[in-house]
Symmetry: C2
Subunit: 317 residues, 2 copies
Amino acid sequence: MFKTAICDLLGIEYPILQGGMVWVSYNELCAAVSNSGGLGILAGGSMTADELKAEIKLVKEKTHRPFGVNIPIRKPGSENLVDVAIKERVDVVCTSAGNPKQFTQMIHDAGLKVIHVSPSPQLAVKAADAGVDAVVAEGIEAGGHDGFEEITTMALIPQVVEAVGIPVIAAGGIADSRGFVAALSLGAKGVQIGTRFAATREAQGHSNFKSAIIDAGPAGTVIAGRALGPTRSVKNRLTDQIVEMEKRGASVEELLKTIGNGRSRRATLDGDVEDGTVYCGQIAGMIRELKSVDEVITEIIEGAEGLVKKLEQLATL
Amino acid sequence: MFKTAICDLLGIEYPILQGGMVWVSYNELCAAVSNSGGLGILAGGSMTADELKAEIKLVKEKTHRPFGVNIPIRKPGSENLVDVAIKERVDVVCTSAGNPKQFTQMIHDAGLKVIHVSPSPQLAVKAADAGVDAVVAEGIEAGGHDGFEEITTMALIPQVVEAVGIPVIAAGGIADSRGFVAALSLGAKGVQIGTRFAATREAQGHSNFKSAIIDAGPAGTVIAGRALGPTRSVKNRLTDQIVEMEKRGASVEELLKTIGNGRSRRATLDGDVEDGTVYCGQIAGMIRELKSVDEVITEIIEGAEGLVKKLEQLATL
């Protein structure tokens, strides 16, 4: 059910990818998603090459199904992470933040698939031209680093679908069967889900971090740091401070100095959800309890079947 | 086909409302939408009471089907517009920007329906408590004045649907059958479409204005004037100037002084699309040609039937 081109491409049961979230997407979450029929993705962005190697080993102890690694390729040292992904034989490399051209051939030659995350039709076309197998089109409602273009999922997906000839995976604002069917309606062949998986038992992260997502509410996230690149996280003392600085026209240097390093780790691992950064999508308003990965995926697929039946009745009434 | 609670409530064939866009939604557009099976809505926001009266008369000469008037109720003199809508017996009053409580009883007593536009679950609940018959939940991708909460349609619709017991109409990011089916998937009982109808032959507006929408492209709109209330329009010399002022921390007073009055009229009627405000939704990137109202509505309904069939195949494969 809901077998799309993405299922065929990646050898998975359901077209549901789990976003590679820094400090969150470690072996337990990744293996759980793959075991439930989706594609688990490790967060290379918060790992050294050695850590990634160890995490891949742990995933392979927990599942024999396909899984992937997310690698923000603009980050210094990303080539080492790509090396590990190839040598340790993951199934998919999901590249983000940068031009995938430099790595696509090498990854393909090793027999792995490449998916690139794009926040605009223009960048999706660039990725398709670079030879990636599929693109994740990510709307501005997504948590973490978003595109400068600030295009929402609703407006973005059909435009990317029309612009590229490869399968498109929708991301941003999707947490349940409604978002899943909406994404397919917009022309996506699958979804990538972040925040909903961050609020699962299998996700790595402090209980304060998971509670901050569950308690965020409908208007509980904010885009901060636009001058550095829009980033969505839970509103807290830190984002209030950044937004205030932006309002009075603070420079990029001032912003960088205030934000400093390690804010995401501080919230996600240490549980400091006031002065750390709780990366979180706007759909947090629909997330009201901690669930298991299997519950999340089962509810999406079963809910989607019911939803499509309702749509069919509407169309023929 | 696609007969929902909104069709029953408003006595229309398809659950498609046309947004009441200032300077754009006049008698020709309104009547055309109603004649094609949707609900045409006059833009009370850019009319005096006398003008509204004359426009209603013209609509009634062109259609016998239901239609409505949008009234931004926070605007001084809005009570006069409400009076006209009641006396001239339109079918629906669509209130926006303000608390609908002050007018709902009066409008209902006169036998008209009331729909309120809300950009957040919280404000939708307030409107439902005030007794309105339905709410339009409008995401940040919509053109014109948006909510301070900046919630996208994808994240907003299911939250409003869960929060209120009355039918929800989705707005923002919808221009074709894909957006229509996506909105229904998210739980909406209908859609309100603005920008796509602004780029029709029947819409009022200078050809430069319509061309600006058609030429906008995927990243061609911008939110400007956040301190005054987020407003989405086509990027041009004016928005560049405002965004630049915002970056250097300009005050509300400075912004108001620079923007002044009449910017929307200047773009929409006079065709000055560089120093006027071209209100426009982000979905403009999907709008590539001028169409007739009937083409737009027919394509949505026929496309949606095909789309639902495809979804059904996916669900049962």
